[in-house]
Amino acid sequence: MAGESHPIRAYGDRRDDGVIQLSFTLPVPLSDKAKEAARQFCTRLGLLDVKVAAAEPAADNYTFFVVYGRADVSLDYSSIDVPEIVFRKLGFDELNKLIEDRVARRVVVLGACTGTDTHTVGIDAILNMKGYAGDYGLERYPWFEAYNLGSQVPNEELIRKAEEQKADAILVSQVVTQRDVHKDNGRQFIDVAKAHGLKGKTILLLGGPRVDHKLAMELGFDAGFGPGTKPSDVANYIVHALLKKMGKEPEDLHFEGEPA
């Protein structure tokens, strides 16, 4: 499909009508003037045929709006660049076999929810036996040696333990994201990792509901995993990344389910 252009617009009632819905609050009391402000607000976003559907008195000095309008935005879908899948994700047995054959020792991973974050459900989903959405956690893989340190673990402690265990990969989970605390925390982790010389050596992974591969890379991690990640995605990623580090797989290999 690449090459040939494929323009798309929002679809409301008919193809390419561009209709979208918005809601927002403006810090003004409900009035005709407030409604006009909402209309202008949407016009400033470039919407056409703005219909201020609802203007609700959220409080004495706040008005909540629901708006419909037409976005005059057309995208060329063919030009959107998202890495193509290269090879198939391996199943549980196949992956264990691959480690046995190619790595030839158990892969050691350590994970934790760091900082003051106590949301363990996500990291547990990846590491613990029972896994997530019917997919086994890393603890269940005979060829993984997985340690889950739980929550509220200081970055320093996680890194120290990883050194002790000679971890191949460190998994950091960050769920609280208000005012980008996950980014700050992620950056701080990378700083410590660098100081300990782990960066480039150990595989460093970040995960959480507001994490994506791009963000994780920006922060200095090797990869990032977002909502809906399955343990097997992570297991596959780690094994291939390790084989690459060991020089046993080419750098430009990709697999299905890898963070995009």
């Binding site: 409301g12 009632d13 008919r14 819905q21 219909k51 609802a54 909540f64 629901v66 419909y68």
Partner: protein, 516 residues
């Protein structure tokens, strides 16, 4: 478990009164025909094309016969005569009739007349057999891909363009819809003909044409196979062409039709007599074709207040049922209409709505029932409106509605966007899954507000039925008893299309449909 609320005997009594209410109307129906019934006869014979200027051949022919004052002998009769004159095709028949001022056709001998009728009756039987064959095909597909359990989730598509409608209907089916309704253009009810061919320009809906029916059913057949779940299709047998549309729908294998004995009168200002006669013939076709009808009592409580007028819905349902039964429809075909329309700013509306829905279930235990979501009190605050719809989803599963129109969070603004339908279907899926079986968990207290309200509403419905029996249905409508709308027997559109049947009126299809 909808409570008993009222004795079985009282329910039976209501049913009895309703059948007495419609008796005088049936006299009228028996003695009259309408131009649109006659057009339907011609369609049943296979006259489905349009002539020059897009005017349907059926209209060309019946207008001609009407102008000549002879349509009251039955279009079938003149069709027979045209054949006898050697018409080779429907268009040819029309042309021959048009050429020969009907009055001038010499009368036939009794024997010839008898033969002619016998021959045409055979043709009619063949036509009905062909129709039955098509219906069997539809039913076979329905058996092959069983439908999801009720409440069947019904959503509308209304883009004005049949091809956009197909797109949206497919999307809706994939998102969980069980029934697709193609809403008609606002202008169509008052057209005294059925537009022809595929159409792409309607307002607030898409024209109901036989070709549009075909296009949509074809798409849904394909989708049913793909999803392994039969998707039903419905449209409107309503307005000035009730019976013709019923025929087109039956032929094109639709599954349901909006079809009410009084909606046209009240909400479209169509003449009463015209409506009563048309609905009878249209329902006879539905009965034959295994089409479920959906009645329109829900509309009453968009013009009248839903709390005050609750009883009018029940009374009308008994009347609609009586009309339907007289037209040969079975209980499973009665999608009697009602809706979740009580002003949500009142207290205890969930109790009131449950009461009403339970009472209706109790009165019509074997009918699928058609349940409409809130519409009138919908707000443009889509989040509120969505919550409001969720409660209707709950009442629907609780009272085992057969057909549930899903509420749209944008109801107060526009016909549904693709995304609106997705949102509604996902929520309804959740609510139905979460609450299925809730009716078996509780016993309604007979001394509670729900039961007391049900008894009160039923009592008022009985009074109204009684009034209709005593003063006549026509008078009750004249008093604005239904939907706060007043209509007179000779007012409204389309009276000119009503004719007293001549003594030798001929309509072989009516005989077949009535089982004669």
């Amino acid at each position: 478990m909808p409570g008993p609320f009222v004795d079985d005997a009282r329910v039976a009594q209501a049913r009895g009164i309703a059948s007495q209410v419609i008796e005088p109307v049936f006299d009228l129906i028996r003695r009259h025909t309408t131009i649109s019934v006659e057009r339907t006869v011609l369609r049943l014979f296979g006259m489905s094309d349009a002539g020059p200027g897009g005017i349907p051949l059926t209209n060309l022919m019946t207008d001609r016969l009407k102008a000549a004052g002879v349509l009251n002998r039955g279009a079938a009769y003149w069709y027979a005569r045209a054949l006898q004159l050697g018409a080779a095709s429907p268009l040819d028949a029309v042309e021959r009739i048009a050429a020969l001022p009907a009055g001038k056709l010499a009368p036939l001998s009794a024997e010839m007349e008898g033969n002619l009728r016998a021959e045409v009756r055979r043709e009619a039987e063949a036509a009905v057999d062909e129709l039955r064959r098509r219906i069997d095909e539809r039913d076979a597909l329905r058996r092959e891909y069983p439908m999801s359990p009720a409440p069947h989730r019904y959503v509308i598509v209304a883009t004005g363009n049949i091809y956009d409608d197909v797109d949206q209907a497919r999307a809706a089916a994939q998102a969980g819809a069980d029934i697709i309704a193609v809403i008609r253009s606002t202008a169509q009810s008052l057209l005294d003909y059925v537009p022809h061919g595929a159409t792409s320009e309607g307002y607030g809906g898409t024209y109901a044409t036989q070709e549009n029916f075909r296009i949509m059913r074809e798409a849904l057949d394909a989708e049913s196979r793909r999803l392994k779940r039969y998707i039903q299709l419905t449209n409107y047998s309503s307005g000035l062409c009730m019976a013709e549309i019923a025929f087109a729908a039956a032929w094109e294998k639709l599954d349901m039709l909006l079809n009410d004995a009084m909606y046209g009168i009240l909400f479209r200002d169509i003449n009463m007599r015209r409506t009563f006669i048309d609905q009878y013939f249209s329902r006879r076709i539905c009965a034959l074709a295994g089409i479920i009808i959906n009645t329109g009592e829900d509309n009453y409580i968009t013009t009248a207040d839903a709390y005050d007028a609750a009883h009018t819905v029940i009374a009308s349902q008994f009347i609609n049922e009586a009309f339907a039964k007289r037209a040969g429809l079975q209980d499973w075909q009665l999608g009697l209409g009602h809706s979740y329309e009580i002003d949500p700013h009142r207290p205890e509306t969930l109790l009131l709505e449950l009461s009403q829905a339970m009472l209706i279930r109790r009165c019509f235990p074997d009918a699928p029932l058609k349940y409409m979501p809130p519409t009138k009190h919908k707000e443009t605050d889509i989040f509120f409106s969505h919550a409001y719809d969720v409660m209707a989803d709950l009442v629907a599963i609780w009272t085992r509605q057969g057909i549930q129109l899903l509420g749209m969070m944008t109801e107060a603004m526009h016909t549904p966007l693709l995304g609106d339908r997705y949102v509604a279907l996902k929520s309804a899926g959740y609510i139905h899954r979460a609450a299925r079986g809730i009716d078996e968990e509780f016993v309604v207290r007979e001394d509670g507000k729900i039961a007391n309200r049900a008894r009160f509403v039923f009592g008022k419905a009985m009074e109204l039925l009684e009034e209709c029996r005593q003063d006549g249905l026509v008078a009750a409508i004249g008093q604005g008893r239904f939907g706060d709308v007043k209509r007179s027997e000779t007012g409204g559109k389309g009276l000119e299309g009503v004719m007293e049947k001549s003594p030798d009126y001929f309509n072989p299809f009516l005989d077949i449909l009535e089982g004669r």
